[in-house]
Amino acid sequence: MQNKDVLIYVEQEGGRVHPIAFELLGKGRELADKTGSRVCCALLGSGIYDAAKELVAYGADVVYVFDDASLATFDSLAHKQNLVTLINEIKPAFVLFGATFTGKALSPRVAATLEAGLNSNCTALELQSDGSLLQARPAFTGNFLAHVKTKSVPALMTVRYRALEAGARNDSRKGEIIKRDVQKVASAIKVLGKGAAKEASIAAADVVVCAGRGLKKADDFAMVKRLADALGGVVGATRPLVDDGWISKDHQVGFSGTIVKPKLYVGVGVSGSPQHLAGMRESGTIVAINSDPSVALFRIADYSVVGDIYEIVPQMIELLKK
């Protein structure tokens, strides 16, 4: 019978596993249980061995650990080299990556090397009766959903963060942890230094309070921040405010910024351009506050508050203090 194993590329930073890996494990477990196969993880980096147990707890049958200082790099070259060798050896049917900066730079290189099909930004994966995988991904800035199939073995895909449910953690689960020899590949890229650290991970937040053009000046982000704090969330912004330099790019919600799917999204003076909607329309509950009753965001909101943000937001902050 054909091997139906699932291989998951695990993204980590300083030994901390990116939560997308747990979501991929949740789906990988489901697929493997249906086909009676294994879920394998490829964990690459430096000083990462301890993270392997966590992957087992989230459903991995086998974790291949590539632990070497040469892999502590953002350059996808070394990761590609080691991953391709592993894939050629264990021959999985499906290889899953997170649709993150790392996954998006790495996966096309792996696909080109293997001459394999790769689908990007999948939001749903569904096993078909013939054993193939139907992958759904947004296209045309989220206006359409494309349902895609792959005939190559393996089939590669990147999956959007927060599109799938993470499996349950079970620390008594048993799995195999295999240490692998690392092929060292020198990077041609010299890192001169770190730029601005990310202030906010709006992609990971459960609550995003997003300011739009209704905000009159940059200083008023202080008010938005107070509301975000009161709700236990982070501050987001629309593209014009980022373009004007009022706030850093890592706060930008939208197609050319970050696509978010929080439990609660609050738009403060956000009109809702198509590019912005493409970046937040999957949010759990949507609140829109705007004095203009005709804005597009109101059409997809659960709660539309028609009023002046400079009155409503301070009132909300007061109420939330209680």
Binding site: K80, F101, P108, A111, N119, P138, N143, G195, Y303, S304
Partner: protein
């Protein structure tokens, strides 16, 4: 110095429709334009040409009508526009597209830098840049948000990673995928547009890429295919409108009831 820019023609995504009963874009439903992310790549090439002196070649693949994209780039100071167009290239997925583009780049000969947008607004895969770099065996700088310094043999740039931005340096040859922050594209003048209208756009077919494996072009070389395209169902929303005195109160109460408040 030779800079190659990869550009794609895309439909206006606000208006695009699909042909009934098929998975193909109805080209009459929306105007076509150059992928907005590629304009930043063209602008970056234009700036480097002005500062360092360079020949800029713009390369695209698509139907004959996609030559408009190359004229747009020529109006923005590109020296040469090449359109890969052939029925044999049609129906290509990302694997086949990157293979074909890389074959054309090999035919172009020596280059220092390849620039492209981080993704397109239609396919949104962001695969072509990294895949072309892999095919050509060159260094990839993904998600470049700023070119700090460019000289004849290397570049210093800011790139975006999952952990934040990094200042990096890399020697040519390399491929850069640019984000929207890379620069602000300038508009061409009327005179430039007129000049571009008269310029020659070279058309290359499969026969021009005779060193490549033709079985890897187009639909035949594509391991993925679109089974169907649907309009995603809009999530059901409550659609409650709150107005006037007490609306903040009502909102906070509703969020509390829904369990969305912390603590």
């Amino acid at each position: 110095m030779h800079i190659i820019v990869l550009a794609k023609q895309v439909p206006d995504i606000e208006k695009v429709k699909f042909l009934a009963g098929s998975n193909r874009v109805d080209r009459k439903s929306a105007d076509a334009e150059i992928n907005p992310f590629d304009l930043n790549a063209v602008e970056a090439a234009q700036q480097m040409k002005a500062n360092l002196g360079a020949t800029v070649t713009v390369l695209s693949m698509g139907p004959a009508s996609a030559e408009a994209v190359l004229r747009e780039a020529i109006a923005r100071d590109a020296d040469r526009g090449i359109l890969l167009t052939d029925d044999a290239f049609a129906g290509a997925d990302t694997l086949a597209t990157a293979y074909t583009l890389a074959a054309a780049i090999r035919k172009l000969g020596a280059f220092d830098l390849i620039l492209c947008g981080e993704k397109t607004v239609d396919g949104d895969t962001g695969q072509i840049g990294p895949a072309v770099a892999e095919r050509l065996g060159i260094t990839l700088l993904p998600f470049v948000s700023q070119i700090t310094e460019a000289t004849a043999d290397k570049i210093v740039a800011v790139i975006e990673t999952s952990a934040g931005s990094l200042n990096v340096e890399a020697a040519f040859p390399l491929l850069i995928t640019g984000t929207k922050e890379l620069n602000t594209p300038r508009l061409p003048t009327l005179k430039d547009k007129l000049r571009a209208r008269k310029a020659e756009v070279e058309k290359w077919t499969a026969a021009d890429l005779s060193d490549a494996d033709a079985s890897k072009f187009g639909a035949a070389g594509s391991p993925t295919w679109v089974e169907s395209i649907t309009v995603p169902p809009e999530k059901k929303r409550k659609g409650e409108v709150l107005k006037g005195e007490g609306s903040a109160n009502q909102l906070v109460a509703a969020l509390d009831k829904a369990g969305l408040l912390k603590g």
